[in-house]
Every structure is written in C-alpha cells, then in structure tokens.
Symmetry: C2
Subunit: 327 residues, 2 copies
C-alpha cells in the first residue's frame, strides 16, 4: 500500500542532516513510501534530488527554550505546523517530527483536532522489557482525570491491536497494590469506570508484575508513566557498564535505554491523524524508524481503529484549546 | 553500647520460627544486644532459653485480611502494639516487626506519637542501585501535601546522616523534568518550600539520573516512591534469568529485588522512637538484619537527629488520630 508521510525537516538536534538521511534510508527500505520533506528553504536545499522525496516549503523550526504554544501562535507557517497540515489537507497520511514533542502536541491538536472524548494528545509506546507492554502515557497528562484514563485505555487498546497485533488486549491500571481499594482517589474512580466500560480490563497491576505478561496495555497518568520509563532507563544505564559488550545480555540491557528499542514506534494518540514524535537526540536511524513506524500504523488502519474504539465515549467540551502542559 | 530491641514474635509469614531464629542470629553477632521477644504464650514457648532473649507475654498477632486499625483498637494487647510499647515504656530502644506494615504504622503512631510536623509514619530505605540514594517514602503517603514532602525531606536527611554517614545530604524531588516549572502542582509547591527551607535542596531529579549520585536523598509521595521501587524490582526479575548465576552481575541484579540489599534497614520514620518494619516474606536472615539495623540506628543517635532536623518545622494539628492509608 502506497503511503505518504510528511516529515519535519527542522526537528531534532541534528536537523536537517539527520532528518534527510533518515528519510532517504526509509525510502530505500520501502518502495511504496513517499516522503514530503517540510521546512524552510535553507533546510530543503540540503536534500538531494530524489523522486519520492518531495520538498514542501514552510516557515522556521521551533527555537530552543521559551513557550512553544505561544511561539506557534505567532508563527503560523512553522515547520512543525505545516508538517501536520499535510495530513489535514489529505496530502500525506502521517506526520513525523523528532523535534520538540510539546510543540508537536500543540500543533497536532490545533490542526487535526482531538478525537472524541480525548482531552489532549498523549505519547504511547512499548516498554522494551519482558512481555513488552504498551505503556501510556509516557509523560504528557500530569493532571489526568478518571475519564482521561479510560480514554487512554481505549487509545492503548487500539495501539496494541494495530501496532502489536494483539487481539482483545488486556488493560491494567498501574497501582501500588492489586486490591480494588488500593491506589489514589484518581485511580479508584478510573478503576470503577474501566470495570464498567472495558470488557478486557483486568484491574490493577503493580510495576513489579508489569513485565510478566499480566496485561497487554498498562495505563498511568503521564507523571507516573514517565517515572516508570525513566526508572527503567536509569537502572539500565547503571547496569550497562557492568555487562560484557557484545553479549546477548548487553543488548537486552541497552534496549532498556531506548523506548523504541522493541521495534514499535512512539505514537502521539488522541488527534485525528497518525502523528509520530521522536527524541530530540534522534539520529538518522531513529528518524528512519519513526517514518517506517508511521507508515506501518497507516497501513494497519490505526485511525479507523481509534475511532471505532472511542466511538461510544462521546465528545467532550474542553473549552478553549489549551497549550500542552509538557512543553 | 548496650541496646535492647523489642521484636514482634508474631510478625511475618514464617512467624514465630523465623523471628526466633533471626533474633538468635542477631544476638550471636552482637554481644551488646538484648532482645525482648513479644508475643502470645504459644509463640514464646518455641524460643530456647537464652540469657539475652527475654520473653514478654502479649495478646495475638494481627490476622490476615480485614482492617488492621479497627482490629488493633479492639485488641489493645496485640503483639505488635505491645512490641512498640516496650519502647514507649523505656524498656527497649527500638521495635522490630516484620509483619503487617500497615498495622505497625498504626501501632507506632498511636503508642509513640508523631514527631513534630509529621502527619504519619513513612517507610524509608536505600535503593540498592548505583549511588544507592535514600528513597522516601516507599509507599505510605499516597495523599501527601507539600509540607509533608518537606517533612519527609528532613526525615530522609536524618536517615542519610545517621544510617549512611553522609554529611549535609543533598535532597532532590523526583519529577518528570529538571526545570522548576515541571512537575505536578504538589511538586511545584513542595519545590518552593524546600528551596526556601532546606539549604541542601538541589531541585528536581528525573528517575533516570537518580542512581548517578545527583542527590543523596530523593523524595516522592508514597505512590510514586512505590512505583520507582516496584519498577526496579520488576526489571531485575525480568533480567535475572538471563544472567549467569554466580557472576558479579547476577549479585548486582539480584540485589535490586530486595530494598534492604545495600545493607541499610528500612526504617519507619516520623514517630517518637526507632521502628523497623520488614517484608511479610522475611526469613530468619532478614529478621536478623532488621534487628541489627535497629540497633545501629539507636547507636547512631537517630532519634536525636530527627528531633534536631524537625525542630524548626513546628507541630501541626492533624485532628483525631487516623488509621494508616496503607493497611
């Protein structure tokens, strides 16, 4: 299936070189892929002529520091916004930006709009440990409400189905014990909601059992999800110097320092399009994997699956569009 | 220095056998130690005659399940309560119970009272990874307020000084980024309080940097602390089968499955006495380590150090004594 992916040429510390190199690598690996490279003239000029790499002129990339939401409002033609617009206009089926995740979240919500029942887009990924559960979110919703966690459970279920190929994914809530009375008031209410609305809800899971296959999708608010992710990375970093290089164990531990190491992309879920963020330190290979992940999500019908999952939640009025809490 | 430690003979899955065996091992390793073994006649009867092991008759141990606070109110002579009472009466300088931690927290707060400015006792320990930071709390205060986190920072500082021998321990708050604007509203307010009141406060630390020596004491609410601890244990459990047994790395990973493996005890801080909880699955060696840890904390002058640290916080009125949120 032919897929067109819009890629922000200005995203990441090594832009545009790493982005261009990554796009070319993704094109070389996939004959049915086309890339729209979006950025200012200075960035586009560095790309070689290639039939399936189409330059799209835009304004500048997001500068370091400052408040991305405000800056994006003042720069309507920003590269990240124009990248997402390619999807809104039907010129591409997915958008990739390995730059400022907060800015991408703001641009994606403004341009593509929220999915029904979802307050703001959240990053979702697969933990590269043990049974490799889908974790969400990875660090956006530090002030989630119970119904947000229910919506996230549905987003994560769609991810597990389409990206990991799991039928009827089991969903658990991360808590400090498995009895229903455990957890914060937020979790207790989310538990009640999920038990009522989600047939594949299996209850609480403690992080100690998270990698042992108890659930396919584990849900936490963004703060707790971030703590899980960063604890994993910190432990891996502390162990890595002790493991003989080249050993299978070294690979195993090294994987834990990179959330995409299990081979599944991070997706920014909750907006009306396929959007893939990345790490600011992304190298060409990371960009290529992000583009391939975006194409695979499109081919798997992610967006249809998301709408189907969220269908019975109903839209909610969130008042005026807000900037991301993360940026 | 001669130390007397009261030990709950009914605590843990393997009580009283593992408790008695552990007490005897602790006595064998420390000539200046005396143990008061507290429990019902049926338990005490199993202990051999030993000059420094003194039986103290009490009521029964806490039964499985149910609400420990209510049960303790209805059983004033419960073994765990009588164990803590030995400290309140000056007959022992520390209390150890490897049974139900929630019950021990309730009994300790009722019998010994709270320290000034501390809402409820919290378990504190040392993460056996990298720079081995003191983590608090390990799972009690799931509804902490900013001033609770400040009080916890002071408790953790006293622990680091007395138990780990760190002068002027640096304190950090666990967050999802290091910029002062990061974190939940709770953390932002705690950040402001600590920056104002704690000269050795070094700001936020992400869990990824927690084991790299950025801080000696890391503070989180009990839910987040529990997530850190259990994520560490889960990752260790997933790696352990892959590591050759007997290798130095196997030891290193195995340590991560046990919070006391760095050689420092868990202490229940925030009450007017030295109190050591333990894991319900504790074996004799764990009981012996808990008793030795209690004796070391007494000899190090922990309680004086706690009062000195908390001195300027002032007492707070928490209303009627509450049961533990954990049990």
């Amino acid at each position: 299936m032919r897929v067109r992916v819009a890629v922000d040429a200005t995203g990441g510390d090594q832009a545009p070189a790493a982005v261009i190199e990554g796009a070319l690598a993704a094109l070389a690996a996939d004959d049915e892929l086309e890339v729209l490279l979006v950025g200012p003239e200075t960035a586009l000029r560095m790309a070689p002529a290639e039939r399936r790499l189409e330059p799209v002129r835009s304004g500048p990339g997001v500068p370091e520091g400052g408040h991305p939401a405000r800056w994006l409002r003042e720069h309507d033609d920003a590269a990240v916004t124009e990248t997402v617009r390619q999807v809104a206009r039907g010129l591409a089926q997915a958008a990739v930006s390995v730059g400022h995740t907060g800015a991408l979240m703001v641009a994606a919500r403004w341009v593509l709009g929220p999915l029904p029942g979802v307050a703001r887009p959240i990053p979702v990924g697969v933990l590269p440990v043990g049974s490799a559960p889908v974790l969400l979110d990875l660090g956006a919703s530090t002030e989630a409400r119970p119904r947000d966690l229910l919506a996230h459970a549905l987003l994560g279920s769609a991810y597990a189905e389409v990206v990991k190929g799991v039928a009827n994914p089991r969903v658990a809530l991360i808590s400090n014990g498995v009895e229903p009375g455990k957890g914060t008031p937020l979790l207790q209410e989310a538990y009640r909601l999920m038990a009522e609305r989600l047939p594949t809800f299996v209850g609480y899971v403690e992080p100690v059992d998270m990698f042992a296959g108890r659930a396919d999708v584990v849900v936490a608010d963004g703060f707790v999800g971030n703590v899980v992710l960063k604890t994993m990375e910190g432990i891996a970093a502390s162990l890595l110097p002790l493991v003989p290089e080249g050993s299978p164990l070294h690979d195993r531990v090294a994987r834990m320092t990179d959330i995409t190491a299990a081979g599944y992309p991070i997706l920014l879920l909750g907006v009306g399009g396929v959007v893939v963020p990345g790490h600011g330190r992304a190298e060409a290979a990371d960009v290529a994997r992000a583009i391939a992940g975006a194409a695979a999500a499109v081919r798997g019908g992610l967006l249809d699956r998301l709408y189907a999952r969220l269908g019975d939640l109903g839209a909610e009025d969130d008042g005026p569009t807000e900037g991301s809490k993360r940026g």
